[in-house]
Symmetry: C2
Subunit: 191 residues, 2 copies
């Protein structure tokens, strides 16, 4: 009864496949909901995924018997495919988690722009900085809300982690923006 299960892939942690397994660990969900959690929910500040990768991933996971699905017909909404983890899927996630996590990666276009601040005009830099501050404050507010609704300790750790980072960024930017906002003459920055 095993057939072509032999070619189950090696699990590199933290691709969309593993993300799907992770989200499904907590509760069954549709592809649509998985995307929503990845880009709005408690995972959203440190992962990312779009439909174009999630749906194919779910199909593949189905082929490998790591997830199953049933059709759920709803009143007032289109019917949907609700996925849930199988025993094998659960085991696969745990296995994936045992790979040593790669170091965190921060990608920041904001910092890159900041490097060349002295060659951009002050008005522009001010607006870039203000935008970044607004974004950070919005993110922080969202996390604060989520923190209030979540009970699970791992999730609280992750949310708190995000909050700590965002707060640090915010404080740093507010206190140090002079360094990149001083306009064409950086020697005035200390003033």
């Amino acid at each position: 009864m095993h057939g072509n299960e032999a070619d189950v892939e090696r699990y590199r942690p933290m691709n969309v496949r593993t993300l799907c397994l992770g989200i499904l660990w907590f509760e069954e969900a549709t592809g649509y909901e998985i995307r929503k959690q990845a880009s709005e929910g408690c995972f959203s500040h440190f992962v990312e995924a779009s439909y174009g990768s999630i749906y194919p991933a779910l199909n593949k996971l189905t082929d490998e018997n790591l997830v199953t699905w049933r059709t759920e017909t709803q009143e007032g909404k289109p019917s949907r495919k609700v996925y849930s983890l199988t025993e094998k899927g659960r085991a696969a996630l745990i296995e994936a988690l045992h790979e040593t996590p790669k170091p965190d990666v921060i990608k920041s276009e904001f910092l890159f722009v900041g490097l060349f601040a002295e060659h951009l005009d002050k008005t522009f830099m001010t607006s870039v900085i203000d935008t970044r501050i607004a974004e950070l404050e919005a993110d922080l507010a969202r996390l604060r809300e989520e923190m209030a609704t979540v009970d699970h300790s791992g999730s609280r750790f992750a949310i708190g982690y995000g909050m700590a980072l965002y707060e640090a960024e915010l404080n740093y930017i507010k206190n140090t923006r002079g360094l990149i906002e001083a306009g064409a003459d950086p020697r005035q920055a200390a003033e």
Copy 2:
């Protein structure tokens, strides 16, 4: 004298092309040195690039007259192609910087593992956490060193930014590790 320059690409900020332009802004460099700066130097905590993308990028930038190169023969080392920005390249970078920077992205496998801490054994989590702490401390030390050698205000901003983040992460992990280290029974975490 313009010929096929018409098909100069739109600049989406923060791909390897733009990264090369950015590094070359400060000083001329070889592909080898650009990679080094991207993975070790002052850029390294918020960008990434490998040979396989840098060399082709430099060739393309040459085709578009955004950079030029000369061969430098060295004694005791293989000769090398030293790239530098052209006027046009300088202008292209400034243009690219005017695109509104996309929000920072944090990718953290560590946090993902933390979410499932209660299903992993305590020894493993302890080692994951200790590893992460060691990494952060090493990164911090590296940034502190760099901060001491750098004078340029934009660079100091970027380095300080990294330090602020790493310090916040470090403190958070040290203070809160109990949440994900408590072992199989998360209800004991508060103890």
